[in-house]
Amino acid sequence: MSITAVENEQRREFIVSRVKILDSALEAVAGIGDGATVLVGGFGSAGQPVQLIEALVEGGARDLTVVSNNAGNGEFGLAALIREGRVRKVVCSFPRQSDSWHFDAAWRAGLIELELVPQGTLAERIRAAGAGIGAFFTRTGFGTALAEGKETRMIDGQGYLLEYPLRGDVALVAAHLADELGNLVYRKTARNFGPIMAAAARTTIVQVVQIVPVGALDPEHVITPCLYVDRIVRVERDLALSGETP
């Protein structure tokens, strides 16, 4: 028996949303303390939660460990957090880029620690954290300098490395749309680390360009189900801030 539209309308009244919808990015990042491990979404500037990171700069938390694919671009977002000396350690796959001068300077001055992780291993370690996997074996990096100190095993005649999950106290994620329950939809390659980081942190904070009513998203199109999301803030898509070309 199918559920009628009327019944659905009645059910809507009983929806209890656990997600907090906040008025500003500053409120959204409240409570991120010194020494926190922060998972930061994005690949370059695509999908980087720039407004949340800028709010973190304003919020003043220090000695942060940042897990992100890159180590900042230009002057905005993650680059600004590094410029302001708030980051103690970066866990990433590709710190060096043409516009990563703040990371480069901090690293050369010995002010920031770098844990370099192959991109797929970085993603899988984050996924494992969210999925309750204790550790996993991967062929990636076997026999290289990045295997130093890691447990190895031969499986079916091939060498594998043991890798452990990478968990966050907080995840900062940029999605495209959220509904009022916190279900998320992303846009194109800006999805990148969003879904796996949302699942891998104790508190997941998401910036979106639009928040829609419950029921407005096609359930078939939801990429991150709402149970992974704790706080949402709507932000303007500020092209100047994100360093994007309009």
């Binding site: 695509a46 770098l114 797929g120 291993t121 990636t140 495209h176 796996i196």
Partner: protein, 215 residues
């Protein structure tokens, strides 16, 4: 050595493209390999994977096509082709590691006679290491090809007995496309498939490892 000119990178990209079977799923590395896409006409049906989360990547975006949410692994704005799909990073690398990509073509600092690859770090103190997806691609794709100039700036062969640069992967490269020759790395040794403006004896001297000539 000044007489060695070989072929230019456009001609080499055309040769690599011609070797990619129709309908393959392919990842092209940043740098020289990216240009292979220019020689893959749509009717070949080759689908390009970009590790930041897309299958069915189209050509570089221009003008009004530029969308900051749609970029390739080199962070260059690109376009999507009909039949394209998006996925998150863990899926993208599972695709790679799980052996679902037919071919990846990477650049290299060095390739050894055993097919070891070095392409992520110079190892020089003060150089910031950055690995990206290179190790995952080398370990994961069904076939890893390298496209590079055979000689370094100081005239030394980058096909070597043993890599001196930090390794990206062990015994992962099966074919090396260079401006002077195409090499197949086989269990029995390194086989020279094509020569470009160089004879076999000169190439053997230059490379300094035993080579097998295709009759």
């Amino acid at each position: 050595m000044s007489a060695l000119t070989g072929i230019d990178s456009g001609a080499l990209a055309r040769i690599v493209a011609a070797d990619i079977p129709p309908g393959s799923f392919v990842n092209l590395g940043i740098g020289l390999p990216t240009s292979i896409a220019n020689h893959l006409p749509p009717e070949r049906g080759v689908m390009l994977h970009t590790e930041n989360g897309m299958l069915g990547m189209g050509p570089e975006a221009e003008g009004g096509q530029i969308d900051p949410d749609l970029i390739n692994a080199g962070k260059v704005p690109v376009t999507e082709l009909p039949g394209a799909s998006y996925f998150h990073h863990a899926d993208s690398f599972a695709m790679m590691r799980g052996g679902h990509l037919d071919i990846c073509v990477l650049g290299a600092y060095q390739v050894s006679a055993q097919g070891d690859l070095a392409n992520w770090h110079t190892g020089r103190p003060g150089d910031i290491p950055a690995v990206g997806g290179a190790m995952d691609l080398a370990a994961g794709a069904r076939q890893t090809f390298v496209m590079m100039k055979l000689l370094s700036r100081d005239g030394r062969s980058k096909l070597v007995p043993q890599c001196t640069y930090p390794l990206t992967g062990l015994a992962c490269v099966s074919r090396v496309y260079t401006d002077l020759a195409v090499f197949e790395i086989q269990p029995g040794g390194v086989v020279v498939r094509d020569l470009f403006g160089i004879d076999f004896a000169t190439l053997t001297t230059l490379v300094g490892i035993p080579l097998v000539s295709v009759p």
